[in-house]
Symmetry: C2
Amino acid sequence: MDCVAGYSLYVDLIEPLITGTPTLRSGMMREVERVEAAIATACGGTSCALISSGDPGIYAMAGLVFETCKIKNIPVRSPGAPAAGGLNEAALVVEVVPGIPALCAGAALLGAPLTHDFAVVSLSDLLTPWDVIAQRLEAAARADFVIVIYNPKSKKRDWQLGEALKIILAHRDPQTPVGIVTGAMRPNQEVRIVPLQELSEAPVGMQTTLFVGSRSSSRYLDFMFTPRGYSGKYAIR
Amino acid sequence: MDCVAGYSLYVDLIEPLITGTPTLRSGMMREVERVEAAIATACGGTSCALISSGDPGIYAMAGLVFETCKIKNIPVRSPGAPAAGGLNEAALVVEVVPGIPALCAGAALLGAPLTHDFAVVSLSDLLTPWDVIAQRLEAAARADFVIVIYNPKSKKRDWQLGEALKIILAHRDPQTPVGIVTGAMRPNQEVRIVPLQELSEAPVGMQTTLFVGSRSSSRYLDFMFTPRGYSGKYAIR
C-alpha cells in the first residue's frame, strides 16, 4: 500500500506495522475530509488504505467511501470484477477488508452473550435523530433481542444512556446481566458484568461497548452467555 | 493446543494448519455431545480448541460451553483471572477467541450495508419457536434496522424465508436492496444484490447470509451501503 489514511489515534496504534509508508492523519469529526482525501489519493493512482478500528464496515468509514463516490459520480468496482470495457475500465477499485468488530471482541471477553439474535444500536445522536434511536431501542427491547450499544456516552453526550435504560427497563428484568467492555484488547481494557438496574452507576466512556442480555441471557461466575436453546431440547446433565 | 474439536467440515477446512494434532470430529446436530467431549477432554488436563466457522460467539459453540459448564457445575475462569484460592484454583480456564463472523465477511463483500444500526436474526426454528422469530423480524423491520438473516433456508426448512419476506415487505419498499452472500471467502463464494421483491426467486442455501437494507440503504453499481448520515450534515460535492 502506498499510503495509509485514518484517524490519528488509529494510525498511531499501527505505527510499528507501517514504518516508512506516507500517512494521511486527521482528527475526530473530520471523517468527510479524511475520506475525500483518501479517495482523491487513490484516484490519483496512489493506492491508499483507509483504516478504522474494529471492522471498517460496522459504524465505520466503509459506508462513507461508497456514499462519497456515489455523490461524486466516481465509478467503483471490486478487485474481483472484470475491468474490461465501459465504466469498469476507469473504475476505482475498492476492497473492504473485514476485521473483528468491538461487538465480537467484547462478547469474547464477556463469555458468549451473542449466541442468539441481537440488535446493534448506536446512541450517538450527532447524525441520527434521537427519536429514531429511541424507537429502535424500544423495538429491540420489546422483541427480546440481546442489545449491543455502541457510543453509549461521550463528554458532550451524557443523558442518552439514562434515557436508553428507561426504555429497556420497561421490557427487561432489573436483574438482567449487562456486560460493560471498555478498551477491548487494548492496554486500558476493563470488563465487568452488572445487573441492568445498576448500569447507570457503572463507569462508561467513549471506548465502551455495552451488551444488554435478553430474557434468557444468564450469568455464570465471571461470564455471561445467551443460550441457543440446546438444553431445552437435549438432556445435558 | 493438544486437541482440536469441531464439526467435521470445519476441521477439514483447517487440516493444513493442525497436522499431527489429535482431533474430535462430529457431524451436524451433534453439538451437545461435541461440546461435552471437548469439556471432558479439557477437564482431564488435555487442552482443547473447540472450533466454529466465523466467530465462535455468534450463533456458535461458545454459548453452549458456558451453558454446559453451568448445568454440570464445572467452575470456569478466564485466562486473565487470578487462580489463587477457592473455586478458581480448580476452575477450567476458558478463553473465547473472537473471529470474523459471516455478518462482517458478507458485509465487506457487498460494500458497507452495516455502517448503521442493524439486527441479526436466525430463521432456524429448530431450537427457537417460529412466533419468537416472527416477532423479532416484525420489530426489526418496523424500527428500520438493517436486518442480517442467518440460516435462511435448509433442505428441511423451506417455508421460513417466504414468511420472513412477507413480514419485512409490510414495512419496506419492494425495491429495497438485499445482499445475498453464499460461502463468503470460500471457493464457492457467490455475491449478488437483488430488490427485496425478487428475493424469493434468488438462490439461497445453507451457507447463505442475507442483508436486507434499511429505508436509507442504497445501491451503487455492484455495491450496497447504508449511509451513516454524513451527507445530511456536511456538504459532499
